[in-house]
């Protein structure tokens, strides 16, 4: 079990993340017991086996690498209770677009989890983009990080957390 932030609270979590090591392929890798987040390539190669092995106690989810878009998951969203967005480095911002698209374009209602190089100072931005679970990098303190969700109370833009930009609410 690890501690993650979910819906602005620190909770115990049992999901593991399957990452292909060098030499391993999506077609041949041993599928671990759920709850597990698998790479997109594994999902596409082994979908039926993964779904057959999954259960409410051992669910399966998918993680998107930076550069992988939600387009490739569009037909599968109803089968996934968790989709993770991987940040290989915290300065790689592709995951923000992926999360927004999942929510705003594809209407995904399940959990979107940030994994990888996830740091407290980016939580505010990630949350605005529709990410609602955060597996902080192991050396970071999740309890201390909670305060950073409220860094800015009323930002200007429309985003997932507030679909109306400030200018449409300002005059009221």
């Amino acid at each position: 079990m690890t501690r993650i932030i979910k819906n602005r609270a620190v909770v115990e979590d049992s999901w593991s993340v399957l990452r292909l090591a060098e030499g391993e392929t999506a077609d041949t890798i041993d599928l671990p017991q759920g709850p597990v987040l698998v790479p997109l390539s594994v999902w596409h190669a082994r979908k039926s086996a993964l779904l057959a092995a999954s259960s409410p106690a051992a669910p399966v989810g998918v993680w998107l690498a930076a550069g992988e878009g939600p387009e490739s998951l569009a037909d599968d969203l109803a089968q996934l209770s968790v989709i993770a967005v991987d940040f290989p480095k915290f300065t790689d911002g592709r995951g923000y677009s992926a999360a927004r698209l999942l929510r705003e374009r594809y209407g995904y209602q399940g959990e979107i989890r940030a994994i990888g190089d996830v740091l407290p100072d980016q939580l505010f931005l990630m949350a605005r983009c529709g990410i609602d679970a955060f597996a902080l990098r192991a050396d970071k303190d999740a309890d201390k990080a909670l305060a950073l969700f409220d860094t800015f109370k009323t930002p200007y833009q429309a985003a997932v957390d507030q679909p109306q930009p400030l200018f449409r609410r300002r005059a009221a």
Partner: protein, 558 residues
């Protein structure tokens, strides 16, 4: 100009608190240097040669006298008493200890200023024409739309970690005075056949290591759609721009790789989902913001003031200043005045705390309390009565702000260079000063006439050398500072890049080389022909022959 309401105030105050906390955690070891780096950069803080360089945003170049006095105070209380205006309207301080930056930010927040996104791989300060609102050739005042873009880009949650920095420039007049062809996004305000206002959208321009002129992605975009359209452009860039090589990460590289048609298709496909969404600008919001830029209470004045005309006839020095530093205004009896920050012997764009206070006084006395920063690193008082120009000139002279050289060779664009900047390959300020010294004689300077000379201390091109009629670029050659010369670049509607004329020169030869280039012009010009026109007519060969002389005879340039 725009004034903050409670929402705007809260955001900059929250920013101060955020950064104060980040500095505290960095000092406590909770944030590593690497983790802190992008956070400080997005507050304009670079670690430089001497101390952190701190870059304050001047959104689309507008400053109130109150804000300018605060910048003067910060220069005095936190720095060594001066600052440097950049080609993107911002003000840089050079000597503020990092620990004191949160306090400086708090002082800025009190006067509706900040350093948000003045560096880092995010959307930077939006720039525009320094004569916005007063230019005779204006289609629409770009500043309300610039303010809307400022708000949209501030803490944009999706675009804080782009592949690379992202710069937007907006021009609202017939003549481009905002270098829009060389920005990541350049916007031209225009009217369509039905008389509706919109933008020509140019994407993928930029200077730097790989200078490229931008390309038109859309000829006409209704103004209401600018935020959603920008969002589509930025999303395509954020998702598909290169991240494997910082030198190939700007949007211009993506546009080149895809081709502009394919890039435009992707943007339009993305925009199809966003168009008409909540981020579409409402008329009510436009009106709210535009009201801040309503014309000031101009007096009813004759088009030509007799006393002003007479003073020019009687005082040649005043007439000279008027000729170079004063521009016509769309309102009868008014003029726009450029205060030169290019006094020979000083660093171009530098301004002391005393001068900032003096400019604030002049703005209050003569120009409705407002000042603009130009991308040529000067200051503008945009609304001065003709009958007060003489008094303004005398006051400006007393503050060393009336050098009558706007548009002349000594009014050069110049980055801080190797004296301050850690990125620089070579110094630029001593080169600027050496060139200025060659052209100190005013009759000589005036005889040469309009010319643009731009100096960058490295290929990052902060000094816009690519688009100078004469460009000077500092290069590192075996740990020595050498300088490459380009000719024929230009800004404006026909903006394009200059061409390198040949091998570079050591520092002590650059001013003489420039003098030789000018000599070729003076010897060959037709009557009333400007430097750039003579260059276009003759081509670069006679200029090359003059500066390289025997060095290149009989052998081809490497």
């Amino acid at each position: 100009m725009y004034r903050y309401d409670n929402y705007d105030h809260a955001l900059v105050q929250e920013r101060v608190a955020q950064f104060r906390d980040q500095v505290r955690r960095w000092k406590a070891g909770e944030l590593s240097d690497e983790e802190f780096r992008p956070l400080r950069l997005q507050n304009g803080l670079y670690i430089q040669r001497h101390a952190p360089m701190f870059r304050v945003a001047v959104p689309y170049g507008m400053l109130s006298s109150t804000q300018l006095r605060r910048l003067a105070k910060i220069a005095r209380d936190y720095d060594k008493g001066y600052g440097h205006f950049t080609t993107r309207h911002n003000l840089q301080f050079n000597w503020i200890p990092l620990e004191r930056v949160p306090d400086a930010l708090a002082e800025l927040a009190e006067v509706e200023m900040h350093a948000i996104q003045t560096s880092g791989n995010c959307i930077r300060n939006v720039t525009t024409d320094q004569f916005a609102g007063v230019a005779a050739d204006e289609i629409l005042d770009p500043r309300p739309l610039c303010e809307l873009l400022r708000q949209w880009s501030t803490f944009h949650p999706e675009f804080a970690f782009l592949p690379r920095k992202f710069k937007i420039a907006v021009n609202g007049a017939l003549e481009d005075r905002a270098l829009t062809w060389f920005h990541d996004i350049g916007l031209h305000i225009r009217k369509n056949e039905a008389g509706e206002v919109g933008f020509r959208v140019i994407v993928g321009g930029g200077l730097g290591r790989t200078p490229i002129r931008g390309q038109v992605v859309r000829e006409f975009l209704p103004w209401q759609d600018i935020l959603t359209y920008n969002e589509a452009i930025l999303r395509v860039y954020n998702r598909y721009g290169r991240r494997d090589n910082a030198y190939k990460a700007r949007i211009k590289i993506l546009v080149q790789a895809l081709g502009v048609e394919k890039f435009a298709e992707q943007v339009e496909a993305e925009w199809a989902h966003l168009k008409s969404g909540p981020a579409t600008i409402t008329q009510a919001e436009y009106d709210r913001v535009a009201a801040f830029f309503n014309p000031p209470a101009y007096a009813q004045l004759p088009a030509i003031d007799d006393g002003f005309v007479q003073a020019q006839a009687e005082q040649p020095a005043f007439a000279r200043w008027v000729e170079r530093n004063v521009r016509p205004h769309r309102v009868p009896g008014y003029a726009a005045v450029t205060l030169s920050l290019k006094k020979p012997g000083t660093a171009p764009g530098d301004v002391s705390d005393v001068q900032m206070d003096r400019v604030a006084d002049l703005a209050d006395r003569y120009s409705f309390g407002e000042v603009r920063v130009t991308h040529e690193q000067n200051l503008v008082l945009a609304d001065v009565r003709q009958d007060e120009l003489q008094a303004l000139w005398q006051d400006a002279k007393a503050a060393a702000l009336a050098t009558p050289n706007i548009g002349l060779i000594t009014d050069m664009i110049c980055c801080p260079g190797g004296d301050f900047c850690d990125l620089a390959n070579a110094k630029s300020i001593p080169i600027a000063n050496a060139i200025q010294a060659k052209f100190e004689d005013l009759d000589y300077l005036y005889d040469i006439g309009d010319i643009e000379l731009n100096i960058s201390g490295c290929m990052n091109s902060c000094g816009h050398h690519h688009v100078g009629h004469i460009g000077v670029l500092g290069v590192d050659k075996g740990n020595e500072e050498w300088y490459q010369i380009t000719l024929g670049g230009r800004q404006g509607n026909n903006a394009h890049l200059g061409k390198v004329i040949g091998p570079s020169f050591p520092a002590d030869e650059v001013a003489s080389v420039v003098e030789k280039l000018i000599r070729v012009y003076l010897d060959n010009r037709h009557e009333d022909e400007l430097f750039i026109d003579t260059l276009d007519r003759l081509g670069v060969e006679p200029f090359k022959d003059k500066v390289y002389g025997d060095r290149l005879k009989g052998k081809k340039a490497a």
